[in-house]
């Protein structure tokens, strides 16, 4: 029997964590294992470790997102890192600085990780390319591109409830065209061996050339799309899409794509229902489902914290390649 390669070398993370499109199963497993350990930690009365003592994490949010920012902030603090939050959309950019100047200025304060959220696809990539120090960039959501930690928390949640991703059929319902989480989820599900990923929604909410671009199956009929699936991931419906021309009304959307008990019945008996929150009850999901036995919406939040701790540890802890 061959000696296993050194796990640190085999599973070395890339220096930056920008998305899941090119991330290997080995790397994802490494993050999930680390997160599983942290999940136990967060159930203890003393929730802190000194893993990142002396390290600095800056949360640089050019677009507000209380949930994601809080999750990264708490993750950093539980690892004993010095965490700084900067809501740049409200400060620097108003002073006429370009956002890249803000990134460079913060880099000069020698952080170990910059967690970046930006409304434009590719912004964290641009920042990563401009950095000259050892600092890692972690993508906390860019435009309609990727939101890798959010997707991994869903992967972790699925694994904890259903075991390996291998062979599962997963339906993502709603506005995949504008969803960064969906793209990251699709990449991760494929990498981890899911049998099939289905996108369900009207053509206005499904991205162009989705089958070719993302290797998914597209369904415009929710009942057909949900048939036999093991996991249903609901996406939050942005109200401006309804006011715009993507969907004529909440009423029609819920009738066609809303997840109620009857529709859940099309899926596998032990189906898992997920939602990244915050939910629009009665728009994309009925309360009877959101609060029902298949729903794992609250455990998702806990797992999110564990995933972010794992990613921060592996990148800001100096274990990345």
């Amino acid at each position: 029997m061959n000696a296993p390669a050194s796990p640190a070398a085999a599973d070395a993370l890339p220096r930056h964590f920008l998305g899941l499109e090119d991330v290997s199963a080995a790397t994802i497993n490494r993050i999930l294992e680390e997160a599983t350990r942290f999940r136990h930690l967060v159930e203890q009365p003393d929730k802190k470790t000194d893993t990142l003592k002396g390290r600095t994490v800056i949360n640089l949010f050019f677009e507000s997102s209380t949930r994601t920012r809080t999750s990264f902030e708490l993750a950093g603090k539980r690892l004993s890192a010095d965490v700084i939050n900067i809501n740049a959309s409200a400060s620097a950019t108003q002073k006429g600085e370009t956002w890249m100047d803000t990134v460079r200025t913060l880099e000069a304060m020698t952080p170990d990780a910059l967690v970046i959220r930006h409304a434009e696809s590719g912004a964290p990539h641009l920042a990563a390319g401009a950095l000259t120090s050892h600092c890692s960039v972690i993508n906390a959501g860019d435009g309609a591109h990727e939101h890798p930690t959010q997707a991994l928390l869903d992967i972790l949640t699925i694994q904890l409830h259903k075991g390996p991703i291998q062979g599962l059929r997963v339906a993502i319902v709603g506005d995949t065209a504008h969803s960064r989480v969906a793209r990251s989820q699709i990449h991760a599900l494929h990498t981890m061996g899911a049998d099939e990923v289905r996108l369900i929604g009207p053509k206005t909410l499904i991205p162009a050339a989705a089958e070719e671009a993302l290797g998914v199956r597209v369904f415009h009929d929710a009942d057909a799309g949900l048939e036999g699936v093991d996991v249903i991931i609901m996406l939050r419906m942005q109200m401006e899409r309804i006011r715009g021309a993507a969907v004529p009304s909440q009423r029609e959307y819920f009738r066609l794509y809303g997840l109620d008990r009857r529709r859940v019945g099309r899926a596998a008996d032990d189906v898992l229902v997920m939602h990244p929150g915050p939910m629009n009850r009665g728009v994309e999901i009925a309360s009877e489902v959101a609060d029902g036995p298949y729903s794992v919406i609250l455990p998702q939040v806990t797992n999110g914290l564990a995933i972010r701790m794992a990613v921060l540890k592996l990148l800001a802890g100096g274990e990345s390649a």
Binding site: E120, S121, G122, G143, A144, H145, P207, A208, E212, A213
Partner: protein
């Protein structure tokens, strides 16, 4: 100044000439091609052994940025880039600041270009005042000041009624309208070609329909009004087909292709490379093939660069926010010759697309190499390979997606009216 270009391969696509010959130039015009007259006392002899001697290139779609954005480019730096690229005639777009929608701006551009003296600069006037798409410019006055065509390039004329009036008015005097075809509501928010790559990148897409719908509209309006239209930077297979059909019906519709649409596709956006951001966007391989075929069969008679200089900062925003456009004057010849290497066109036809093709669309006395014609000449070494190196370019901005490309065909001399514009030094 009497110049003798000795022993080069003289190619003049307009006349079909392709032979090794001498070219004798006097008083700014071509005196003789063949054996120079015995009594021709040359002040300067250029040994063109192994070189191609062709008409100076005509680039009918250039943004010179002066007046108003001289940090991106000015008439002098743009003229240098043109001369270094073998381009002797440049038609410059009206989206300067202020817009070239009044005589004073046209005259300023012409006089500055004349003072620089490295290239013939032909201003294109705006179709509508301040490019706002609402009120027609004084086209007759602008033409009198030297505008050779009219365009709101950078923008379409959104209102079909205004477009109809613009075409009717222009047709009164047989003026040409050059059209940037983009349907605003279909392009809204878009950053790149709509398709699989945009979906992977999470970037908002621009469908081909945005371009095709407007070309269709304007072909129909050209038919209604009898106006002459030229479609700028055609990038879609549908657009090519609409132009082909219009020409088959005998309508005065021409078009041009930009080098980047002939060589790149939307996957060249890669991971958010801002040098691949332009309007219209890089399209699919099928679209690229259709545009190539249209250049090959003469549906599109011009290759024009859409030279759009931007400083580095304008290209270092997030992809969707950064400026559109790439530079092109200094890579035009090399990329056109690459079409010959890739067997899209033979050499004389390829040269036609950058000489008499665009000159005829604009009605310029340019792009021909015949006895009595103005002596605008480009000499290049067809075999020398060179690497596109932004740091060695003359344009003030170096936003090129072709950096690092190996191209064949290096310009050795550019003559404008018989004077040496490149290498620099002589004309100044």
């Amino acid at each position: 100044m009497r110049t003798l270009i000795r022993g080069g391969r003289v190619i003049d696509p307009a006349s079909g000439r392709d032979e090794v010959a001498d070219v004798a130039i006097a008083n700014g015009r071509i005196q003789a091609i063949g054996d120079a007259p015995g009594d021709f006392g040359a002040d300067r002899v250029i040994d063109a052994d192994g070189l191609v001697v062709c008409p100076g290139l005509v680039d009918m779609h250039v943004h010179l940025r002066e007046p108003g954005q001289e940090w991106k480019e000015d008439i002098e730096s743009g003229s240098r880039a043109a001369a270094a690229g073998g381009v002797t005639s440049v038609a410059c777009m009206a989206n300067t600041r202020p817009v070239n929608d009044r005589r004073s701006v046209t005259e300023q551009i012409k006089s500055t270009a004349q003072r620089v003296g490295l290239s013939r600069v032909h201003p294109i006037g705006a179709i509508t005042r301040d490019l706002a798409g609402e009120t027609l410019t004084e086209m007759h006055e602008l033409a009198g000041a030297g505008c050779v065509a009219f365009s709101d390039d950078g923008r379409p004329v959104p209102d079909a009624g205004i477009m109809r009036r613009a075409l009717e008015y222009a047709a009164t005097f047989d003026y040409l309208l050059i059209l940037h075809e983009e349907e605003g509501a279909l392009s809204a928010g878009g950053a790149m070609n709509e398709g699989a790559h945009a979906t992977r990148m999470g970037l908002p897409g621009i469908p081909n329909a945005s371009e095709d719908v407007m070309i269709a509209r304007d072909v129909i309006l050209a038919e209604l009004t009898g106006g002459r239209i030229h479609i700028a930077h055609v990038a879609t297979s549908g657009g090519v087909e609409l132009i082909r059909q219009a020409q088959a019906r005998g309508l005065p519709v021409t078009g041009e292709a930009a080098p980047h649409h002939l060589f790149l596709t939307d996957t060249d956006v890669g991971a958010f490379d801002s040098h691949a951001k332009m309007a219209p966007p890089l399209r699919s391989p099928e679209d690229r093939a259709a545009v190539r075929a249209a250049v090959a069969d003469g549906t599109l008679t011009a290759i024009a660069t859409d030279h759009a200089p931007h400083e580095a900062d304008a290209k270092s925003e997030a992809f969707a926010c950064c400026a559109n456009g790439v530079t092109g004057l200094e890579t035009l010849l090399g990329l056109t010759l690459r079409l010959v290497d890739e067997e899209v066109l033979d050499l004389p036809s390829a040269l036609a697309r950058v000489t008499n093709g665009p000159a005829e669309v604009l009605g310029l006395e340019a792009g021909r190499l015949g006895v009595g014609e103005v002596a605008d000449v480009c000499l290049f070494d067809p075999e020398t390979e060179w690497t596109v190196e932004p740091e060695r370019m003359y344009s003030r901005s170096v936003n090129t997606p072709f950096a690092g490309w190996r191209l064949r065909g290096r310009v050795t001399h550019t003559l404008v009216g018989g004077r040496l514009a490149y290498p620099f030094g002589d004309a100044e």
